[in-house]
C-alpha cells in the first residue's frame, strides 16, 4: 500500500464535530507539549522538519515563522488560507470537514511560536459546510480553553475568526486574500513589503495553507528529525493528493513524497475509467502543467515539479482520457483564468483574453504559424512578467502542452505558410 495516513489519520474515523473525539485521538497533545516548550526550540523543530508550504508554492515554512517571530509589534496575525479555489483541489475541504481541530491546533502552535495575537481562517465562499464545521470547532475549542485568554493556563492569549470571500479565485493569493479580509476587492499588492513585515491591516502576518497547518501538530509530536525522514530529501512528509477526472477511484489520498504519479493513478486510482487510454494528466490544478503518459513515472516532489517552470504542489492529479481534445481542455482552462484575473496588471488582464482568442483558432482548425508563434511568446511573457501567481501560472498548461503535445498544435495549423 503506498498510502500513508498521518495527517488524515483521523479523517473518517472520528466525529469532526466532537472535540472529545479529537482529544481521545491524541488531539491537542502537541499544543500542550508546545506550550511547555521554549519557542526557539519549537522553531528549531520546524526547521529540522524541512516542511514546505502545501498551498502550491512550496515555500519553506520556517522562513515565514522566523520572519514573523522576529517582528516586534503589538499585533501580529496568523492566517489560514482555506480559499481552495484551484480547480481539481478538494483536500483542504477534506481536512476542515473531517478534522477541523487539527487545523486549529496547528495555527495555535504557530501563533505561540511567533507570539501572534490573532488568527483568521479565510474560507472559500462556496465552502458552506467547511465554514460551519470550522465555526463549530472554533466554538468548542473556545469552550475548552484551547482558544481565548490564558490558553490552558499558559498565559498565552489567542483567538481565531473565520472570514469568507465572495468566491473569487484570486483571493487565494496571499495579498488578494489580505485585501479581501480588509474588506477591499481581491487584488494583490506589490511585493516587497512581504506579509510578514506588512500584511493584514499593515501588521506582520503569516499565511499558510490548511494542509500546512495540519502538519504542525504532527511535527511537534514526532519531532522535526523524524518528520524529515518521511518523503524525499527536498520534499519531506506526506502530501494529500486529489485524484479526479477519468479515473476509477476518485478522492483525497495521503501519500509520502517520492511516489510516482503512475503509482498514484494505477495503484490508488485503479487506472482510467472504462479502461480507456490515458491521453494526458494535469497536475496541481488549472494552473498546472499537462503531461503525457510517458512522463507519469515522475516522482511527486517539489524540485521535480519546478522543472515545468511552474510551482505545482497543490496536489491535484486530473486524469484525462483519449476522448478529449487538448484544445477543448486548454480553452476551458484559459477561459477560467480570463474570468478570474483581477485586472490589475497588464499581462494577465489583457493576456488571457488574447490567449483565448488564439486557442479558439486552434480549436476551429484555423490557426496559422503566426498564431503558434504569438501563443508561445505571449504565454512566456505572461509567465515571466505577471504581478502575482495567477497571471504567472495561467499559461502553464499552454507552455507544457507546447512542449509535450507539440504535434497536436502542428496538426491544427491551417497551413504551414508563414
Amino acid at each position: 500500500m503506498i498510502e500513508m495516513r498521518l495527517i488524515s489519520k483521523r479523517c473518517g474515523v472520528i466525529n469532526p464535530l466532537s472535540i472529545d473525539d479529537y482529544i481521545k485521538a491524541d488531539g491537542y497533545k502537541a499544543l500542550q507539549k508546545a506550550l511547555k516548550t521554549d519557542t526557539i526550540k519549537l522553531i528549531e523543530e520546524i526547521h529540522k522538519s524541512k516542511l514546505r508550504g502545501r498551498g502550491g508554492a512550496g515555500f519553506p515554512v520556517v522562513t515565514k515563522v522566523v520572519a514573523l517571530a522576529k517582528e516586534i509589534n503589538d499585533v501580529k496575525y496568523v492566517i489560514c488560507n482555506a480559499d481552495e479555489g484551484e480547480p481539481g483541489n478538494f483536500k483542504d475541504r477534506y481536512l476542515m470537514e473531517n478534522d477541523p481541530h487539527q487545523v486549529i491546533e496547528g495555527m495555535l502552535i504557530v501563533a505561540y511560536q511567533t507570539r501572534a495575537t490573532k488568527g483568521y481562517i479565510y474560507i472559500r465562499g462556496e465552502y458552506h459546510h467547511s465554514h460551519n464545521t470550522m465555526q463549530w470547532a472554533l466554538d468548542e475549542a473556545r469552550k475548552h480553553n484551547y482558544l481565548g485568554e490564558n490558553i490552558l493556563n499558559s498565559g498565552f492569549d489567542f483567538d481565531i475568526e473565520i472570514r469568507s470571500g465572495a468566491g473569487s479565485y484570486v483571493c487565494g493569493e496571499e495579498f488578494a486574500l489580505i485585501e479581501s479580509i480588509e474588506g477591499k476587492p481581491g487584488r494583490t499588492r506589490v511585493k516587497p513589503p512581504f506579509p510578514t513585515t506588512q500584511g493584514l491591516f499593515n501588521k506582520p502576518t503569516l499565511i499558510n495553507n490548511v494542509e500546512t497547518f495540519s502538519n504542525i501538530p504532527l511535527i511537534i509530536t514526532i519531532g522535526g528529525d523524524q518528520f524529515a525522514k518521511i518523503g524525499t530529501k527536498s520534499s519531506t512528509g506526506t502530501k494529500l493528493i486529489c485524484l479526479s477526472g477519468n479515473i476509477k477511484n476518485k478522492g483525497v489520498f495521503e501519500v509520502p513524497f517520492g511516489v510516482s504519479i503512475r503509482d498514484v493513478i494505477e495503484k490508488i486510482g485503479s487506472g482510467v475509467e472504462n479502461d480507456r487510454k490515458l491521453k494526458m494528466v494535469q497536475l496541481g490544478g488549472a494552473c498546472g502543467p499537462i503531461i503525457p503518459d510517458y512522463m507519469l513515472d515522475m516522482l511527486i516532489d517539489y524540485d521535480r515539479f519546478e522543472e515545468f517552470e511552474s510551482k505545482t504542489g497543490a496536489g491535484a492529479i486530473i486524469v484525462i482520457d483519449d476522448r478529449f481534445d487538448i484544445f477543448d481542455i486548454l480553452t476551458r482552462v484559459i477561459r477560467f483564468f480570463e474570468h478570474e484575473s483581477c485586472g490589475k496588471c497588464t499581462p494577465c488582464r489583457e493576456g488571457n483574453q488574447q490567449l483565448l482568442k488564439i486557442l479558439e483558432r486552434f480549436q476551429e482548425h484555423s490557426a496559422t504559424v503566426k498564431d503558434l508563434v504569438s501563443l508561445e511568446s505571449l504565454a512566456r511573457v505572461m509567465h515571466q512578467t505577471s504581478l502575482c501567481g495567477l497571471g504567472q501560472t495561467a499559461p502553464t498548461a499552454i507552455i507544457s502542452t507546447l512542449r509535450y503535445f507539440r504535434d497536436d498544435y502542428i496538426d491544427r495549423l491551417d497551413s504551414l505558410e508563414i
Binding site: T346, P347, Q353, Q384, T385
Partner: protein, 573 residues
C-alpha cells in the same frame, strides 16, 4: 551603498535605490507607464521589467531595490520582447485613433510604442467603445483611451484624499471609473484635475474649449478680452519646449494679441483687488468678533471640496470671489460701461492653470448681468499652448509686449498668488501695514514659502500675535478643516490651495509636472515678485483709482455686490 552590475557596468548606488533609479543615474532610462515620480509604486503595467541573472521571471525595476551583487540586464532580447508584447496587449485594447486624441504627440503610450519600434500588432483588437463622461464643465473622462495604469486613482486617493476613482470589475472588464460607474458630476469630485495632469494618455483631459474661443475671436462685433493667471507666466514656456521656470509674461501678451484678442489683461490685477477685499474682511472679522479662522477662497477646487465635505465651515471661508471671477465681474460691468460695450457683445476668456476654474466660471451665481456669465470661457495652460501651435506662432522668437490698461498694472504681491503661501504672504504685506500703520520692513515671509504640506507663522497685528497657516493639497486641507470644524484650530487666517505646490502645480498645467518642476516654477514666481516696482497690493495706483472712481471702498456696497459671493452645502445622492 550597494554594488551591482547593470548591463555589464559596475555601479555603486545608495541603499534602497530601485533598479529603475539606479539605471537612470547611469544614463539608462528604462521605459515606464504606471510609474510617476511623485506617486506610489504600483507596478501594474509591467513595462519596466528587467532581467536579473539567476532569476527565472523578469522583475519590475520600479519596485525592485538594488541588492549587493545583482547582475541586471535592462534590454536583453527577453526583456525587449516582454515590453513589446505588453505594449501590443495594451494597444489591442485601446482606442488607438491617435490623431483624434488630445494627447497626440504628447502621449506616453504612443511614445513608448514608438521607442519600442512597434509597427504591427500581433494581437487581435479587443477594443470596443464605451460611453465618454462629459457630465461636467471641467473634465472629460474617456475610458476608451484608459490603459488602467492607476495613476489617477493614486493621486486622487493619496495626494488629494478625495478618492472618487477606483478599479471596478475584473479581468479585461476592469475599468478605472468613479464609484458605481457614476459620472464625475454626481460624485464628490472637486475637478482639481490632478488626475488629468498625471494621466499618461488621453483618458482624462480638460474639457477642450479652444473651439469656443476661436469662434468668439472671429465673431464680428464681439469684443474679446482675456485675463492671464499668475501661474501661467512661469509655465507656458514648457508647452512651447522651454525649460520649466522660464518667465514668459511679455511673450504671452504678444501671442494673445496675435491670436486676435482685443485686449490682454492680467489676473494679477484682480489678485491685488482680492487682497484689498480679503484683507479688509480679515481685519473686520478680527476686530468685530467675526467667525475665525478665516479661510481663503481663491481656489475653486478647495471651494468644491469644502461645499461637499465640510459644509459646517463654510462661514469660515472668505466671501471674496476668486481673482478670475472678480475680473469677470468688473469686465462685464465697469469695463463694459467705460468702453461703452454692451456686455452681451463682450466675451471674457481666462487662461488658468486649473480645470476647476472651468467649473467655477459656470456657477450660476457668477453672473453680474442677468443670464450672462462673467467669464465666458476658461482655457488651461495646455489649451493656450494648443492654440499657439494651431496658429503657428513662433513663440520663442516673438517680442514681449506689456499688458493693456487698466487691468495691466499689478504688483509683486499678486504675482506670488501662483505659489502655495503666496496669497497669505500678499495678504500679510497689506494687512500688516493697514493695521499696524507702519511700513513692513521685510516683505519676504520666507517661512510661508516652499513645498512643505502645512506651514505656519505668527504675525504681530495691532500689538496682538496672530497665528496663520498655509496648506496645499486637499489631504492637508482636510487636516486643517477638521481642526476648524472641531473648534481646535489655533489660527486666525488659513490659506488653502488644492493642488500640490499651489496653482503652479495646477491640474491644467503642462504635462509631466513633478516636484522638481514645481520648485522651478515657484522660484520663478518669486523672481517675478522681486523684480516688480510695487510689491504690495494696497500700493497699486490703479486699484486705488478704481476704488475712488467706481468701487468706493473695500467691503462697500458696490464691491459687496460685484466682488463677493456665497457658498452652499452640496450633497450627492
Amino acid at each position: 551603498m550597494v554594488n551591482l552590475k547593470i548591463n555589464n557596468i559596475d555601479v555603486t548606488v545608495a541603499d534602497d535605490t530601485t533598479i529603475l533609479n539606479a539605471a537612470k543615474e547611469f544614463n539608462i532610462k528604462i521605459p515606464t507607464l504606471c510609474y510617476y515620480p511623485d506617486l506610489g509604486i504600483k507596478s501594474d503595467c509591467r513595462i519596466c521589467v528587467v532581467e536579473i541573472e539567476g532569476q527565472k521571471g523578469l522583475v519590475t525595476s520600479c519596485s525592485t531595490v538594488c541588492r549587493e551583487g545583482l547582475v541586471v540586464k535592462t534590454s536583453s532580447p527577453r526583456v525587449l520582447n516582454a515590453r513589446k508584447t505588453i505594449t501590443e496587449l495594451i494597444l489591442a485594447n485601446h482606442d488607438a485613433n491617435c490623431t483624434a486624441c488630445p494627447r497626440n504627440l504628447n502621449c506616453e503610450l504612443q511614445s513608448l510604442a514608438n521607442k519600442l519600434g512597434i509597427d504591427v500588432n500581433r494581437f487581435e483588437s479587443v477594443y470596443y467603445p464605451q460611453p465618454i463622461d462629459t457630465s461636467n464643465p471641467a473634465l472629460v473622462r474617456n475610458p476608451n483611451r484608459c490603459i488602467k495604469c492607476g495613476r489617477c486613482i493614486d493621486v486622487c486617493k493619496t495626494i488629494q484624499g478625495v478618492n472618487v476613482l477606483e478599479m471596478m470589475g475584473r479581468s479585461h472588464n476592469m475599468t478605472i471609473s468613479p464609484a458605481y460607474g457614476k459620472p464625475l458630476n454626481d460624485l464628490y469630485c472637486t475637478f482639481c484635475g490632478q488626475c488629468a495632469s498625471v494621466c499618461p494618455v488621453g483618458a482624462i483631459t480638460e474639457k477642450d474649449d479652444t473651439d469656443l474661443v476661436w469662434k468668439a475671436l472671429h465673431q464680428p462685433d464681439m469684443h474679446v478680452i482675456v485675463q492671464v493667471a499668475p501661474a501661467i507666466r512661469v509655465s507656458l514656456g514648457e508647452e512651447i519646449g522651454l525649460p520649466a521656470g522660464n518667465i514668459v509674461t511679455g511673450k504671452i501678451v504678444s501671442a494673445l494679441k496675435l491670436l486676435g484678442f482685443n485686449e490682454v489683461f492680467d489676473t494679477d490685477f484682480t489678485a491685488d483687488l482680492t487682497i484689498m477685499e480679503e484683507g479688509t474682511e480679515l481685519i473686520h472679522r478680527i476686530t468685530n468678533g467675526g467667525v475665525l479662522p478665516m479661510m481663503t477662497s481663491c481656489c475653486p477646487g478647495w471651494i468644491n471640496f469644502a461645499e461637499q465635505h465640510f459644509p459646517e465651515i463654510l462661514p469660515n471661508i472668505s466671501s471674496c470671489k476668486s481673482p478670475q471671477q472678480m475680473f469677470g465681474a468688473l469686465a462685464k460691468t465697469y469695463y463694459a460701461e467705460k468702453k461703452g460695450i454692451d456686455p452681451k457683445n463682450l466675451y471674457v476668456v481666462s487662461i488658468m492653470p486649473c480645470t476647476a476654474k472651468k467649473y467655477e466660471a459656470k456657477r450660476e451665481e457668477m453672473q453680474s448681468n442677468p443670464n450672462l456669465y462673467d467669464v465666458d470661457s476658461v482655457l488651461t495652460t495646455r489649451e493656450l499652448g494648443k492654440m499657439i501651435r494651431q496658429m503657428g506662432i513662433d513663440f520663442a522668437s516673438i517680442e514681449p509686449t506689456e499688458f493693456d490698461n487698466p487691468f495691466g498694472i499689478t504688483t509683486g504681491a499678486a504675482a506670488i498668488f501662483g505659489a502655495t503661501g503666496g496669497v497669505m504672504e500678499a495678504a500679510l504685506r497689506t494687512v500688516y501695514e493697514v493695521v499696524n500703520k507702519k511700513p513692513l520692513e521685510n516683505l519676504d515671509f520666507v517661512g510661508l514659502r516652499g513645498l512643505e504640506g502645512i506651514k505656519e507663522a505668527t504675525v504681530s497685528l495691532g500689538g496682538q500675535d496672530v497665528k496663520v497657516a498655509v496648506c496645499h493639497t486637499l489631504s492637508n486641507a482636510r487636516i486643517l478643516a477638521e481642526q476648524v470644524k472641531n473648534g481646535t484650530s489655533p489660527y486666525a487666517f488659513i490659506e488653502v490651495m488644492c493642488c500640490p505646490g499651489g496653482c503652479i502645480g495646477g491640474g491644467g498645467q503642462p504635462y509631466g509636472t513633478i516636484t522638481k518642476t514645481r520648485s522651478e516654477r515657484i522660484q520663478a514666481i518669486y523672481e517675478v515678485d522681486k523684480d516688480m516696482p510695487i510689491r504690495k497690493s494696497h500700493e497699486n495706483p490703479v486699484i486705488q483709482a478704481l476704488y475712488k472712481e467706481y468701487l468706493e471702498k473695500p467691503l462697500g456696497t458696490k464691491s459687496h455686490h460685484l466682488l463677493h459671493t456665497k457658498y452652499k452645502e452640496r450633497k450627492h445622492k
